[in-house]
Amino acid sequence: MQALADFFTSPLAFPFMVRGLVASALVGALCAVMGTYVVLRGLAFFGDALAHAILPGVAVGYLTTAGDRRSLFWWGLGTAILVALGIGAVSKRGRLKEDTAIGVVFAGMFALGIALISTVRGYAVELVHFLFGNVLGVSTHDLVLIGAFGGAALLVVLLFYKEFLVISFDPDLAATLRLPTAFLRQLLLVLIAVTVVVSLKTVGVALMLAMLVTPAATAYLLVKRFSWMMAVGAGLGALSGVLGLYLSYWTGIASGAAIVLVATGLFLLVLLSRLPRGGGA
């Protein structure tokens, strides 16, 4: 019993762990709420592309501000919103299929980001932080940004809850109800962009998709109402963040990977428990 308590309490002696845990929980919950839309509207590829495509923006910020960590968030946010609106516009009137267009743009931008960062000597550490996150490097200032922008994104979801539900379920109904469908679609993409940027430092570019998709997918298996899916997903996301960080602390596994592994483990657990019993088929 004492050992279990120590497992959870002793890391709290380090302020960086406390900040990291708060950040992981917030990001886990936020990603799962937005992930509900990502899962139900089939936006997984968009989310992944968005996470990768902000790298050049972050890189430019990194180069021009001599590594001032505080400005990176704003560079990332600006890039993400531009990319989200750009994809939204391009996919509507392109000659290519939407996923092809997204693929071309996101791979190209990702390469540009790596190219830019690689011009700095000893870039490897920074690159690893962008790619896989650096949750133990989260500052109080970062927490404020996560809280403010994550909170704002959640508030918008709450305000437009019924409209987002209608455009997700039946876009034709949204049109006949005369909802501003184009505006709502773009707004949703921007909210996902904000979520990606807010989560960048915690899970990094490469594993972002898992936080958007996995807890929401687990919740999808468990409940049959949209609002419950959001709530359960948020709980699972926060739980994955916290447990993952403890796992990382005690085993020395990279934090982003540990968080995603916990989320994936929870998903598999639920998936297996939901399989039809008997015969093993």
């Binding site: 034709d172 109904l173 049109a175 005369r178 184009a182 949209f226």
Partner: protein, 289 residues
């Protein structure tokens, strides 16, 4: 989006000023529906060509034609979901885009039946347009939804997930949504497709209910028999209007061949059979006696 296409502007696009652009006023004496030289092009190819007809309030019309005849396209343009390439649709004298009184009931395969919503949730979606931004459904909305569910006989299934519904129940749920939406023009895209006869009868009964409430109904149908038996007016469509009028006048052998383009046999008892090559895998010949 096609170039030059006019799209519906949202009713509360002018944020943050006064929410709600004025809705279209129903002009007194204007027909419930006028379709005027309507043409729709997809990638330069016509889906609909020069379609013209009109309906008075409270009428019901079956749109019949082969696959690819443009039935869904026509319904979606009338709903204001798709923009016309040229020509006009007027509902009570006004563009469809200003109307919130139009309900479009989708074909079964257009909906993700694994989406996590209950029957009640889906019917409540019909209220969203009237609620407006930032407002949550109130007691009156919930009462209307329950009333609509009771009217279609789904009160017991309100809390069910939509994935558990049969085809007929799903269609009844969408009719309940049209009721909750307080729609005056109800467009149903293949509502009878894939249903057994009792379920089809139930849906046809609900159409009477909608009509008794004053709604104008447009359905797309595959089955000429049902169209002939249950609809005083039919529109035979194959991208163009082949025939429009009461079934005896519209469903002549020549018109049917023109619309379906298949083979046509005259039966001894003066009936005809149209063989629609597109429907062979569904095992159905469209017959009319």
């Amino acid at each position: 989006m096609r170039e030059g296409a006019r799209r519906c502007r949202p009713s509360w696009s002018k944020l943050p000023g006064r929410l709600g652009r004025p809705l279209a006023v129903h002009l007194p004496g204007a027909p419930a529906l006028e379709v005027d030289h309507l043409t729709v092009l997809y990638d330069g190819r016509p889906a609909l060509e020069d379609v013209t007809f009109r309906l008075s309030g409270g009428e019901r019309l079956a749109i019949v034609g082969p696959n690819g005849a443009g039935k869904s396209t026509l319904l979606k343009v009338i709903a204001g979901v798709l923009p016309p390439t040229s020509g006009e649709v007027r509902i009570r004298g006004q563009d469809p885009c200003g109307h919130r009184c139009i309900a479009y009931l989708p074909q079964r395969n257009e909906i993700d039946w694994r989406f996590p919503v209950t029957v009640f949730d889906v019917v409540m979606m019909g209220r969203v347009g009237r609620l407006g931004l930032l407002r949550r459904p109130g007691a009156r909305d919930r009462a209307l939804v329950r009333q609509a569910l009771a009217a279609v006989g789904l009160a017991e299934l309100a809390a069910r997930g939509i994935g558990e519904l049969s085809g007929g129940q799903a269609q009844r749920m969408f009719i309940a949504r049209a009721l909750a939406q307080e729609a005056e023009l109800v467009l149903l895209d293949e509502p009878l497709a894939g249903l057994d006869t009792p379920s089809q009868e139930a849906i046809l009964g609900l159409l009477d209910l909608l009509q008794a409430g004053g709604a104008t109904l447009l359905l797309s149908l595959h089955d000429l028999d049902i169209a002939a038996q249950h609809f005083p007016l039919v529109l035979l469509l194959n991208r163009r209007v082949v025939a429009f009028g009461p079934p005896p006048q519209a469903f002549t052998p020549e018109k049917l061949v023109e619309a379906f383009g298949g083979r046509l046999r005259t039966l001894p008892d003066s009936g005809v059979i149209v063989t629609d090559p597109c429907r062979t895998q569904e095992g159905g010949d469209a017959g009319v006696g």
